[in-house]
Subunit: 305 residues, 2 copies
Protein backbone atom coordinates (compact mmCIF):
# COMPACT_ATOMS: atom_id res chain seq x y z
CA UNK A 1 0.00 0.00 0.00
CA UNK A 2 1.27 3.45 -0.89
CA UNK A 3 0.78 6.23 1.64
CA UNK A 4 -0.95 9.41 0.58
CA UNK A 5 0.61 12.53 2.13
CA UNK A 6 -0.76 15.97 2.89
CA UNK A 7 1.46 18.96 3.61
CA UNK A 8 -0.25 21.60 5.76
CA UNK A 9 1.90 24.72 5.64
CA UNK A 10 4.07 24.58 2.54
CA UNK A 11 6.92 26.84 3.60
CA UNK A 12 10.65 26.26 4.02
CA UNK A 13 10.14 23.03 5.99
CA UNK A 14 6.88 21.61 4.61
CA UNK A 15 7.84 22.52 1.07
CA UNK A 16 11.22 20.82 1.36
CA UNK A 17 10.04 17.56 2.89
CA UNK A 18 6.85 17.34 0.81
CA UNK A 19 8.80 18.30 -2.28
CA UNK A 20 11.33 15.54 -1.61
CA UNK A 21 8.56 12.95 -1.28
CA UNK A 22 6.83 14.15 -4.48
CA UNK A 23 10.15 14.19 -6.31
CA UNK A 24 10.62 10.53 -5.27
CA UNK A 25 7.26 9.60 -6.80
CA UNK A 26 5.10 9.60 -3.69
CA UNK A 27 1.57 11.00 -3.75
CA UNK A 28 1.68 14.37 -2.00
CA UNK A 29 -1.00 17.07 -1.68
CA UNK A 30 0.19 20.53 -0.74
CA UNK A 31 -1.86 23.19 1.04
CA UNK A 32 -0.71 26.68 0.09
CA UNK A 33 -1.70 30.08 1.29
CA UNK A 34 -0.73 33.17 -0.74
CA UNK A 35 1.57 31.23 -3.10
CA UNK A 36 -1.18 29.01 -4.54
CA UNK A 37 -1.68 30.72 -7.93
CA UNK A 38 2.04 31.04 -8.62
CA UNK A 39 2.90 27.46 -7.68
CA UNK A 40 -0.07 26.00 -9.58
CA UNK A 41 1.33 27.59 -12.76
CA UNK A 42 5.07 27.38 -12.13
CA UNK A 43 5.59 24.50 -9.71
CA UNK A 44 7.57 24.44 -6.47
CA UNK A 45 11.30 25.02 -6.96
CA UNK A 46 13.78 23.59 -4.45
CA UNK A 47 17.50 24.40 -4.49
CA UNK A 48 19.20 21.83 -2.31
CA UNK A 49 22.68 20.79 -1.26
CA UNK A 50 21.67 17.21 -2.07
CA UNK A 51 20.26 18.06 -5.53
CA UNK A 52 17.97 20.70 -7.01
CA UNK A 53 14.51 19.83 -8.32
CA UNK A 54 11.14 21.30 -9.29
CA UNK A 55 7.75 19.77 -8.40
CA UNK A 56 5.72 20.53 -11.54
CA UNK A 57 2.93 19.61 -12.03
CA UNK A 58 2.01 19.81 -8.36
CA UNK A 59 -1.08 18.84 -6.35
CA UNK A 60 -1.60 22.31 -4.97
CA UNK A 61 -4.66 23.55 -3.03
CA UNK A 62 -5.70 26.73 -1.39
CA UNK A 63 -8.19 25.17 1.04
CA UNK A 64 -8.08 21.86 2.87
CA UNK A 65 -11.73 21.14 2.01
CA UNK A 66 -10.63 20.65 -1.62
CA UNK A 67 -8.00 18.07 -0.66
CA UNK A 68 -8.46 14.27 -0.46
CA UNK A 69 -8.31 12.39 2.81
CA UNK A 70 -4.69 11.39 3.46
CA UNK A 71 -2.84 8.69 5.40
CA UNK A 72 -0.18 11.06 6.72
CA UNK A 73 -0.66 14.76 7.41
CA UNK A 74 2.59 16.63 7.90
CA UNK A 75 1.86 19.91 9.69
CA UNK A 76 4.61 22.46 9.09
CA UNK A 77 2.72 25.65 9.85
CA UNK A 78 4.21 28.19 12.21
CA UNK A 79 3.05 26.99 15.62
CA UNK A 80 1.53 30.43 16.19
CA UNK A 81 -1.16 29.32 13.71
CA UNK A 82 -1.97 25.97 15.37
CA UNK A 83 -5.28 27.36 16.58
CA UNK A 84 -6.38 27.05 12.93
CA UNK A 85 -5.80 23.28 12.82
CA UNK A 86 -9.21 22.57 14.32
CA UNK A 87 -10.70 23.94 11.08
CA UNK A 88 -7.99 22.88 8.61
CA UNK A 89 -7.49 19.21 9.51
CA UNK A 90 -10.91 17.47 9.53
CA UNK A 91 -11.33 17.24 5.71
CA UNK A 92 -7.93 15.51 5.51
CA UNK A 93 -8.52 12.85 8.14
CA UNK A 94 -9.77 9.27 7.99
CA UNK A 95 -9.82 7.05 11.06
CA UNK A 96 -6.21 5.89 10.64
CA UNK A 97 -4.57 9.13 9.55
CA UNK A 98 -1.26 9.87 11.25
CA UNK A 99 -0.85 13.58 12.06
CA UNK A 100 2.79 14.68 12.42
CA UNK A 101 3.57 18.12 13.86
CA UNK A 102 6.91 19.12 12.33
CA UNK A 103 7.40 22.10 14.58
CA UNK A 104 9.67 23.28 17.35
CA UNK A 105 8.85 23.55 21.02
CA UNK A 106 6.91 21.81 23.72
CA UNK A 107 3.22 21.22 24.38
CA UNK A 108 1.96 21.44 20.80
CA UNK A 109 0.85 17.79 20.56
CA UNK A 110 -1.04 18.08 23.85
CA UNK A 111 -2.87 21.13 22.52
CA UNK A 112 -3.78 19.30 19.30
CA UNK A 113 -4.83 16.16 21.17
CA UNK A 114 -7.47 18.16 23.01
CA UNK A 115 -9.26 18.69 19.68
CA UNK A 116 -8.37 15.33 18.09
CA UNK A 117 -8.36 12.81 20.95
CA UNK A 118 -9.05 9.79 18.71
CA UNK A 119 -6.39 10.32 16.08
CA UNK A 120 -2.79 9.24 15.98
CA UNK A 121 -0.57 12.21 16.74
CA UNK A 122 3.19 12.30 16.33
CA UNK A 123 5.81 15.00 16.67
CA UNK A 124 8.55 15.66 14.16
CA UNK A 125 11.84 17.44 14.65
CA UNK A 126 13.54 18.82 11.56
CA UNK A 127 17.32 19.17 11.71
CA UNK A 128 17.67 21.33 8.67
CA UNK A 129 18.80 24.73 7.41
CA UNK A 130 16.11 25.63 4.91
CA UNK A 131 14.49 28.92 3.99
CA UNK A 132 12.01 30.44 1.57
CA UNK A 133 13.98 32.67 -0.79
CA UNK A 134 11.16 33.66 -3.15
CA UNK A 135 7.62 32.85 -4.19
CA UNK A 136 7.43 29.08 -4.67
CA UNK A 137 11.20 28.90 -4.15
CA UNK A 138 12.97 27.17 -1.27
CA UNK A 139 16.65 26.95 -0.52
CA UNK A 140 17.93 23.95 1.45
CA UNK A 141 21.39 24.99 2.62
CA UNK A 142 22.49 22.28 5.04
CA UNK A 143 21.58 19.13 7.00
CA UNK A 144 18.06 17.73 6.52
CA UNK A 145 17.31 14.87 8.92
CA UNK A 146 13.81 14.30 10.25
CA UNK A 147 13.14 12.66 13.61
CA UNK A 148 9.60 11.50 14.43
CA UNK A 149 8.06 10.01 17.58
CA UNK A 150 4.50 9.27 18.68
CA UNK A 151 2.51 11.32 21.14
CA UNK A 152 -0.71 9.23 21.23
CA UNK A 153 -2.17 6.10 19.60
CA UNK A 154 1.10 4.93 18.00
CA UNK A 155 1.04 3.14 14.65
CA UNK A 156 4.49 1.62 14.35
CA UNK A 157 4.13 -0.08 10.96
CA UNK A 158 2.87 3.11 9.33
CA UNK A 159 5.79 5.02 10.82
CA UNK A 160 8.18 2.43 9.42
CA UNK A 161 6.67 2.97 5.97
CA UNK A 162 6.94 6.76 6.39
CA UNK A 163 10.58 6.23 7.33
CA UNK A 164 11.15 4.13 4.22
CA UNK A 165 9.44 6.73 1.99
CA UNK A 166 11.63 9.52 3.35
CA UNK A 167 14.83 7.50 3.03
CA UNK A 168 13.94 6.86 -0.63
CA UNK A 169 13.44 10.61 -0.94
CA UNK A 170 17.00 11.39 0.30
CA UNK A 171 15.82 12.47 3.77
CA UNK A 172 17.69 10.83 6.66
CA UNK A 173 14.93 9.63 8.99
CA UNK A 174 14.98 8.46 12.59
CA UNK A 175 12.25 7.17 14.87
CA UNK A 176 12.27 8.81 18.30
CA UNK A 177 11.42 6.29 21.01
CA UNK A 178 10.70 9.08 23.49
CA UNK A 179 9.11 12.14 21.89
CA UNK A 180 9.28 14.24 25.04
CA UNK A 181 13.02 13.66 25.43
CA UNK A 182 13.59 14.34 21.72
CA UNK A 183 11.67 17.62 21.99
CA UNK A 184 13.80 18.71 24.97
CA UNK A 185 16.97 17.77 23.06
CA UNK A 186 15.90 19.94 20.16
CA UNK A 187 15.27 22.80 22.58
CA UNK A 188 18.91 22.62 23.71
CA UNK A 189 19.74 24.18 20.34
CA UNK A 190 16.61 26.23 19.69
CA UNK A 191 16.38 28.04 23.02
CA UNK A 192 19.77 29.79 22.84
CA UNK A 193 20.11 30.39 19.12
CA UNK A 194 16.56 31.27 18.05
CA UNK A 195 16.13 33.87 20.76
CA UNK A 196 19.61 35.37 20.95
CA UNK A 197 19.91 35.96 17.20
CA UNK A 198 16.70 38.03 17.52
CA UNK A 199 17.50 39.78 20.81
CA UNK A 200 21.04 40.69 19.73
CA UNK A 201 20.27 41.08 16.01
CA UNK A 202 23.03 38.71 14.97
CA UNK A 203 23.82 35.27 13.58
CA UNK A 204 24.97 31.98 15.08
CA UNK A 205 28.64 32.43 14.15
CA UNK A 206 28.92 35.84 15.85
CA UNK A 207 27.33 34.44 19.03
CA UNK A 208 29.95 31.69 19.03
CA UNK A 209 32.94 33.95 18.36
CA UNK A 210 32.26 36.34 21.27
CA UNK A 211 33.37 34.90 24.63
CA UNK A 212 30.45 36.42 26.56
CA UNK A 213 27.65 35.26 24.27
CA UNK A 214 29.34 31.88 23.89
CA UNK A 215 29.17 31.59 27.68
CA UNK A 216 25.55 32.75 27.61
CA UNK A 217 24.64 30.15 24.96
CA UNK A 218 26.25 27.51 27.16
CA UNK A 219 24.37 28.76 30.25
CA UNK A 220 21.06 28.58 28.38
CA UNK A 221 21.81 25.06 27.13
CA UNK A 222 22.58 23.95 30.66
CA UNK A 223 19.30 25.45 31.86
CA UNK A 224 17.47 23.37 29.24
CA UNK A 225 19.23 20.26 30.55
CA UNK A 226 18.15 21.21 34.08
CA UNK A 227 14.57 21.76 32.91
CA UNK A 228 14.53 18.46 31.04
CA UNK A 229 15.93 16.61 34.05
CA UNK A 230 13.26 18.11 36.31
CA UNK A 231 10.68 16.77 33.83
CA UNK A 232 12.20 13.31 33.96
CA UNK A 233 14.26 13.47 30.76
CA UNK A 234 17.94 12.97 31.45
CA UNK A 235 20.19 14.41 28.75
CA UNK A 236 23.90 13.65 29.07
CA UNK A 237 26.03 16.78 29.81
CA UNK A 238 28.24 16.04 26.78
CA UNK A 239 25.23 16.91 24.60
CA UNK A 240 25.93 20.59 25.29
CA UNK A 241 29.46 20.30 23.92
CA UNK A 242 28.10 18.39 20.94
CA UNK A 243 25.63 21.19 20.12
CA UNK A 244 28.35 23.85 20.54
CA UNK A 245 30.74 21.96 18.25
CA UNK A 246 28.00 21.36 15.69
CA UNK A 247 27.20 25.08 15.64
CA UNK A 248 30.89 25.99 15.38
CA UNK A 249 31.00 23.84 12.26
CA UNK A 250 27.86 25.38 10.71
CA UNK A 251 27.87 28.13 8.15
CA UNK A 252 26.69 31.50 9.60
CA UNK A 253 23.00 30.90 10.09
CA UNK A 254 19.87 32.84 10.88
CA UNK A 255 17.41 30.51 12.69
CA UNK A 256 13.72 30.53 11.77
CA UNK A 257 12.85 32.94 14.58
CA UNK A 258 15.35 35.49 13.24
CA UNK A 259 13.84 35.18 9.76
CA UNK A 260 10.36 35.54 11.28
CA UNK A 261 11.41 38.66 13.15
CA UNK A 262 13.13 40.26 10.17
CA UNK A 263 10.02 39.55 8.08
CA UNK A 264 7.61 40.95 10.70
CA UNK A 265 6.03 37.57 11.43
CA UNK A 266 4.80 36.62 14.89
CA UNK A 267 7.47 34.79 16.90
CA UNK A 268 7.01 31.20 18.16
CA UNK A 269 7.65 32.25 21.76
CA UNK A 270 4.87 30.18 23.34
CA UNK A 271 6.04 26.79 22.06
CA UNK A 272 9.80 27.35 22.21
CA UNK A 273 10.01 29.37 25.44
CA UNK A 274 6.85 29.82 27.50
CA UNK A 275 5.74 26.16 27.47
CA UNK A 276 9.15 24.69 28.43
CA UNK A 277 9.65 27.37 31.12
CA UNK A 278 6.20 26.68 32.61
CA UNK A 279 6.63 22.91 32.41
CA UNK A 280 10.02 23.06 34.12
CA UNK A 281 8.75 25.52 36.73
CA UNK A 282 5.86 23.18 37.58
CA UNK A 283 8.48 20.47 38.10
CA UNK A 284 10.49 22.70 40.43
CA UNK A 285 13.12 24.07 38.02
CA UNK A 286 13.35 27.82 37.45
CA UNK A 287 14.97 28.48 34.04
CA UNK A 288 16.00 32.01 34.88
CA UNK A 289 18.03 33.14 31.87
CA UNK A 290 15.63 31.37 29.51
CA UNK A 291 12.80 33.31 31.14
CA UNK A 292 14.71 36.57 30.68
CA UNK A 293 15.20 35.78 27.00
CA UNK A 294 11.46 35.10 26.67
CA UNK A 295 10.70 38.41 28.40
CA UNK A 296 12.96 40.24 25.96
CA UNK A 297 11.46 38.43 22.96
CA UNK A 298 7.90 39.21 24.00
CA UNK A 299 8.85 42.88 24.21
CA UNK A 300 10.55 42.81 20.79
CA UNK A 301 7.69 40.82 19.25
CA UNK A 302 5.39 43.70 20.15
CA UNK A 303 7.75 46.42 18.98
CA UNK A 304 8.64 44.87 15.61
CA UNK A 305 12.03 45.30 14.00
Amino acid sequence: MNLRYAIVGTGAIGGYYGGRLANAGKEVHFLFNTEYEYVKNNGLKVDSVVGDFVVNPINAYKASMDMPKCDVVLVALKSTRNNQLKQILPPLLHNDTVIVLIQNGLGLEAQLAADFPNHTIAGGMAFICSSRIGVGHINHADYGALNVGFYQLPKITVLQQISSDFEQAKVPFAIAENLNEARWRKLVWNIPYNGLTVALNTSTDKLMQNADTRALVTDLMNEVLDGAAACGEKIEPEFVDKMLSMTDAMKPYAPSMKLDFDNHRTLEIQAIYSNPIATAKAAGCYMRKTEMLAQELKFLDGVGC
Copy 2:
Protein backbone atom coordinates in the same frame (compact mmCIF):
# COMPACT_ATOMS: atom_id res chain seq x y z
CA MET B 1 37.39 79.44 54.36
CA ASN B 2 36.06 79.06 50.85
CA LEU B 3 36.57 75.72 49.14
CA ARG B 4 38.25 75.61 45.75
CA TYR B 5 36.68 73.04 43.42
CA ALA B 6 38.02 71.13 40.43
CA ILE B 7 35.79 69.36 37.93
CA VAL B 8 37.50 66.45 36.19
CA GLY B 9 35.33 65.41 33.26
CA THR B 10 33.09 68.34 32.33
CA GLY B 11 30.23 66.51 30.65
CA ALA B 12 26.52 66.26 31.40
CA ILE B 13 27.09 65.60 35.10
CA GLY B 14 30.34 67.41 35.90
CA GLY B 15 29.31 70.39 33.79
CA TYR B 16 25.97 70.68 35.54
CA TYR B 17 27.22 70.43 39.13
CA GLY B 18 30.35 72.47 38.54
CA GLY B 19 28.34 75.01 36.59
CA ARG B 20 25.85 75.35 39.45
CA LEU B 21 28.69 75.98 41.94
CA ALA B 22 30.33 78.56 39.65
CA ASN B 23 26.98 80.23 39.02
CA ALA B 24 26.56 80.54 42.80
CA GLY B 25 29.90 82.35 43.07
CA LYS B 26 32.12 79.44 44.16
CA GLU B 27 35.64 79.07 42.77
CA VAL B 28 35.52 76.22 40.24
CA HIS B 29 38.20 75.04 37.80
CA PHE B 30 36.97 72.90 34.91
CA LEU B 31 39.02 70.31 33.01
CA PHE B 32 37.82 69.95 29.43
CA ASN B 33 38.80 67.63 26.65
CA THR B 34 37.75 68.40 23.06
CA GLU B 35 35.44 71.27 24.08
CA TYR B 36 38.18 73.44 25.59
CA GLU B 37 38.61 76.01 22.79
CA TYR B 38 34.88 76.49 22.30
CA VAL B 39 34.07 76.88 25.99
CA LYS B 40 37.03 79.21 26.65
CA ASN B 41 35.54 81.58 24.05
CA ASN B 42 31.81 81.04 24.54
CA GLY B 43 31.36 79.81 28.09
CA LEU B 44 29.45 76.77 29.32
CA LYS B 45 25.70 76.98 28.66
CA VAL B 46 23.28 75.10 30.94
CA ASP B 47 19.56 74.81 30.22
CA SER B 48 17.93 73.67 33.43
CA VAL B 49 14.48 73.01 34.82
CA VAL B 50 15.51 75.05 37.86
CA GLY B 51 16.86 77.99 35.83
CA ASP B 52 19.10 78.46 32.79
CA PHE B 53 22.55 80.05 33.09
CA VAL B 54 25.87 80.46 31.31
CA VAL B 55 29.27 80.21 33.01
CA ASN B 56 31.25 82.89 31.18
CA PRO B 57 34.04 83.73 31.80
CA ILE B 58 35.02 80.24 32.90
CA ASN B 59 38.16 78.75 34.48
CA ALA B 60 38.68 76.22 31.71
CA TYR B 61 41.74 74.01 31.18
CA LYS B 62 42.77 71.34 28.77
CA ALA B 63 45.33 69.67 31.06
CA SER B 64 45.29 69.13 34.81
CA MET B 65 48.92 70.22 35.11
CA ASP B 66 47.78 73.77 34.29
CA MET B 67 45.19 73.77 37.09
CA PRO B 68 45.68 74.93 40.71
CA LYS B 69 45.61 72.55 43.65
CA CYS B 70 42.02 72.25 44.87
CA ASP B 71 40.23 71.36 48.10
CA VAL B 72 37.57 69.28 46.42
CA VAL B 73 38.03 67.32 43.18
CA LEU B 74 34.76 66.17 41.65
CA VAL B 75 35.47 63.34 39.21
CA ALA B 76 32.68 62.95 36.66
CA LEU B 77 34.55 61.13 33.91
CA LYS B 78 33.07 58.00 32.38
CA SER B 79 34.30 55.25 34.70
CA THR B 80 35.79 53.50 31.67
CA ARG B 81 38.46 56.25 31.78
CA ASN B 82 39.33 55.90 35.49
CA ASN B 83 42.65 54.31 34.56
CA GLN B 84 43.69 57.85 33.54
CA LEU B 85 43.13 59.28 37.04
CA LYS B 86 46.59 58.19 38.19
CA GLN B 87 48.01 60.74 35.71
CA ILE B 88 45.27 63.40 35.89
CA LEU B 89 44.81 63.85 39.64
CA PRO B 90 48.27 64.47 41.21
CA PRO B 91 48.62 68.14 40.07
CA LEU B 92 45.24 68.91 41.70
CA LEU B 93 45.91 67.40 45.10
CA HIS B 94 47.21 68.80 48.37
CA ASN B 95 47.33 66.72 51.54
CA ASP B 96 43.73 67.48 52.53
CA THR B 97 42.02 67.36 49.17
CA VAL B 98 38.74 65.46 49.11
CA ILE B 99 38.29 63.39 45.92
CA VAL B 100 34.65 62.63 45.08
CA LEU B 101 33.86 60.05 42.38
CA ILE B 102 30.48 61.09 40.96
CA GLN B 103 30.00 57.90 38.97
CA ASN B 104 27.75 54.86 38.90
CA GLY B 105 28.64 51.35 39.93
CA LEU B 106 30.65 49.46 42.48
CA GLY B 107 34.36 49.11 43.22
CA LEU B 108 35.54 52.40 41.72
CA GLU B 109 36.69 53.92 45.02
CA ALA B 110 38.62 50.76 45.89
CA GLN B 111 40.40 50.95 42.54
CA LEU B 112 41.28 54.62 43.09
CA ALA B 113 42.38 53.98 46.68
CA ALA B 114 45.03 51.58 45.43
CA ASP B 115 46.76 54.54 43.72
CA PHE B 116 45.88 57.21 46.31
CA PRO B 117 45.94 55.42 49.67
CA ASN B 118 46.63 58.58 51.69
CA HIS B 119 43.92 60.84 50.31
CA THR B 120 40.34 61.28 51.36
CA ILE B 121 38.10 59.48 48.87
CA ALA B 122 34.33 59.80 48.69
CA GLY B 123 31.69 58.50 46.34
CA GLY B 124 28.91 60.59 44.88
CA MET B 125 25.60 59.45 43.42
CA ALA B 126 23.85 61.84 41.06
CA PHE B 127 20.06 61.52 40.86
CA ILE B 128 19.62 63.58 37.76
CA CYS B 129 18.43 63.55 34.16
CA SER B 130 21.06 65.59 32.38
CA SER B 131 22.64 65.30 28.95
CA ARG B 132 25.06 67.07 26.63
CA ILE B 133 23.05 68.46 23.73
CA GLY B 134 25.80 70.36 21.93
CA VAL B 135 29.36 71.65 22.27
CA GLY B 136 29.57 73.44 25.61
CA HIS B 137 25.84 73.00 26.03
CA ILE B 138 24.11 70.89 28.70
CA ASN B 139 20.43 70.20 29.23
CA HIS B 140 19.23 69.42 32.75
CA ALA B 141 15.77 67.90 32.26
CA ASP B 142 14.74 66.59 35.67
CA TYR B 143 15.72 65.88 39.29
CA GLY B 144 19.24 66.88 40.38
CA ALA B 145 20.07 65.66 43.90
CA LEU B 146 23.59 64.66 44.85
CA ASN B 147 24.34 62.10 47.55
CA VAL B 148 27.91 61.78 48.88
CA GLY B 149 29.52 59.40 51.36
CA PHE B 150 33.10 58.66 52.38
CA TYR B 151 35.12 55.66 51.30
CA GLN B 152 38.35 56.36 53.22
CA LEU B 153 39.80 58.99 55.57
CA PRO B 154 36.53 60.86 56.15
CA LYS B 155 36.56 64.66 56.64
CA ILE B 156 33.11 65.43 58.00
CA THR B 157 33.46 69.21 58.39
CA VAL B 158 34.65 69.62 54.80
CA LEU B 159 31.73 67.51 53.59
CA GLN B 160 29.35 69.72 55.55
CA GLN B 161 30.80 72.76 53.82
CA ILE B 162 30.49 71.01 50.42
CA SER B 163 26.87 70.29 51.29
CA SER B 164 26.26 73.94 52.16
CA ASP B 165 27.92 75.13 48.93
CA PHE B 166 25.73 72.83 46.83
CA GLU B 167 22.55 73.80 48.65
CA GLN B 168 23.39 77.47 47.95
CA ALA B 169 23.81 76.44 44.32
CA LYS B 170 20.28 74.96 44.09
CA VAL B 171 21.51 71.35 44.29
CA PRO B 172 19.69 69.20 46.88
CA PHE B 173 22.50 67.48 48.77
CA ALA B 174 22.51 64.53 51.17
CA ILE B 175 25.30 62.88 53.12
CA ALA B 176 25.33 59.07 52.80
CA GLU B 177 26.25 57.46 56.12
CA ASN B 178 27.00 54.15 54.38
CA LEU B 179 28.51 54.59 50.92
CA ASN B 180 28.38 50.89 50.07
CA GLU B 181 24.66 50.69 50.82
CA ALA B 182 24.02 53.91 48.88
CA ARG B 183 25.91 52.53 45.88
CA TRP B 184 23.82 49.33 45.95
CA ARG B 185 20.62 51.40 46.20
CA LYS B 186 21.62 53.37 43.12
CA LEU B 187 22.24 50.09 41.29
CA VAL B 188 18.63 49.05 41.92
CA TRP B 189 17.73 51.64 39.28
CA ASN B 190 20.82 51.55 37.09
CA ILE B 191 21.09 47.80 36.56
CA PRO B 192 17.69 47.30 34.93
CA TYR B 193 17.28 50.56 33.05
CA ASN B 194 20.79 51.30 31.80
CA GLY B 195 21.24 47.84 30.32
CA LEU B 196 17.75 47.08 29.04
CA THR B 197 17.39 50.36 27.16
CA VAL B 198 20.56 49.38 25.28
CA ALA B 199 19.80 45.68 24.85
CA LEU B 200 16.25 46.32 23.65
CA ASN B 201 16.94 49.66 21.95
CA THR B 202 14.20 51.44 23.85
CA SER B 203 13.42 53.97 26.57
CA THR B 204 12.33 53.71 30.20
CA ASP B 205 8.63 54.38 29.51
CA LYS B 206 8.35 51.57 26.94
CA LEU B 207 10.01 49.13 29.35
CA MET B 208 7.43 50.06 31.97
CA GLN B 209 4.39 49.85 29.68
CA ASN B 210 5.10 46.29 28.46
CA ALA B 211 4.07 43.65 31.02
CA ASP B 212 7.00 41.34 30.24
CA THR B 213 9.77 43.93 30.47
CA ARG B 214 8.12 45.48 33.53
CA ALA B 215 8.36 42.02 35.13
CA LEU B 216 11.97 41.72 33.96
CA VAL B 217 12.85 45.14 35.43
CA THR B 218 11.31 44.00 38.72
CA ASP B 219 13.24 40.69 38.60
CA LEU B 220 16.51 42.54 38.06
CA MET B 221 15.76 44.96 40.92
CA ASN B 222 15.07 42.04 43.22
CA GLU B 223 18.37 40.43 42.19
CA VAL B 224 20.16 43.64 43.16
CA LEU B 225 18.46 43.49 46.58
CA ASP B 226 19.59 39.87 46.91
CA GLY B 227 23.14 40.82 45.91
CA ALA B 228 23.18 43.74 48.35
CA ALA B 229 21.86 41.56 51.17
CA ALA B 230 24.54 38.95 50.52
CA CYS B 231 27.09 41.77 50.84
CA GLY B 232 25.61 42.87 54.16
CA GLU B 233 23.50 45.79 52.90
CA LYS B 234 19.83 45.26 53.68
CA ILE B 235 17.52 47.25 51.42
CA GLU B 236 13.83 47.17 52.29
CA PRO B 237 11.67 45.34 49.64
CA GLU B 238 9.43 48.42 49.31
CA PHE B 239 12.39 50.18 47.68
CA VAL B 240 11.67 48.21 44.49
CA ASP B 241 8.11 49.55 44.34
CA LYS B 242 9.45 53.03 45.04
CA MET B 243 11.87 52.83 42.09
CA LEU B 244 9.14 51.46 39.80
CA SER B 245 6.74 54.25 40.78
CA MET B 246 9.43 56.89 40.38
CA THR B 247 10.20 55.63 36.88
CA ASP B 248 6.49 55.50 35.99
CA ALA B 249 6.34 59.18 36.91
CA MET B 250 9.44 60.12 34.88
CA LYS B 251 9.36 61.55 31.39
CA PRO B 252 10.54 59.00 28.74
CA TYR B 253 14.23 58.80 29.41
CA ALA B 254 17.37 57.40 27.81
CA PRO B 255 19.85 56.56 30.60
CA SER B 256 23.53 57.46 30.20
CA MET B 257 24.43 53.98 28.93
CA LYS B 258 21.88 54.29 26.12
CA LEU B 259 23.33 57.67 25.15
CA ASP B 260 26.83 56.18 25.29
CA PHE B 261 25.79 53.29 23.05
CA ASP B 262 24.00 55.49 20.53
CA ASN B 263 27.08 57.74 20.40
CA HIS B 264 29.50 54.82 19.99
CA ARG B 265 31.14 55.36 23.35
CA THR B 266 32.45 52.48 25.47
CA LEU B 267 29.81 51.23 27.93
CA GLU B 268 30.35 51.33 31.73
CA ILE B 269 29.76 47.58 32.04
CA GLN B 270 32.58 46.88 34.48
CA ALA B 271 31.43 49.27 37.21
CA ILE B 272 27.67 48.88 36.83
CA TYR B 273 27.48 45.15 36.10
CA SER B 274 30.68 43.10 36.34
CA ASN B 275 31.83 44.44 39.72
CA PRO B 276 28.44 44.02 41.50
CA ILE B 277 27.96 40.55 39.97
CA ALA B 278 31.44 39.44 41.07
CA THR B 279 31.07 40.96 44.54
CA ALA B 280 27.70 39.27 45.07
CA LYS B 281 28.98 35.96 43.68
CA ALA B 282 31.92 36.03 46.10
CA ALA B 283 29.33 36.50 48.87
CA GLY B 284 27.34 33.48 47.66
CA CYS B 285 24.65 35.21 45.56
CA TYR B 286 24.36 34.42 41.85
CA MET B 287 22.67 37.35 40.06
CA ARG B 288 21.63 35.29 37.07
CA LYS B 289 19.54 37.69 34.99
CA THR B 290 21.92 40.55 35.76
CA GLU B 291 24.76 38.37 34.49
CA MET B 292 22.80 37.63 31.31
CA LEU B 293 22.25 41.33 30.74
CA ALA B 294 26.00 41.92 31.20
CA GLN B 295 26.76 39.14 28.71
CA GLU B 296 24.43 40.74 26.17
CA LEU B 297 25.90 44.21 26.77
CA LYS B 298 29.48 42.99 26.35
CA PHE B 299 28.48 41.49 23.01
CA LEU B 300 26.72 44.68 21.89
CA ASP B 301 29.59 46.87 23.15
CA GLY B 302 31.87 45.03 20.74
CA VAL B 303 29.47 45.10 17.80
CA GLY B 304 28.50 48.79 18.07
CA CYS B 305 25.08 50.10 17.15
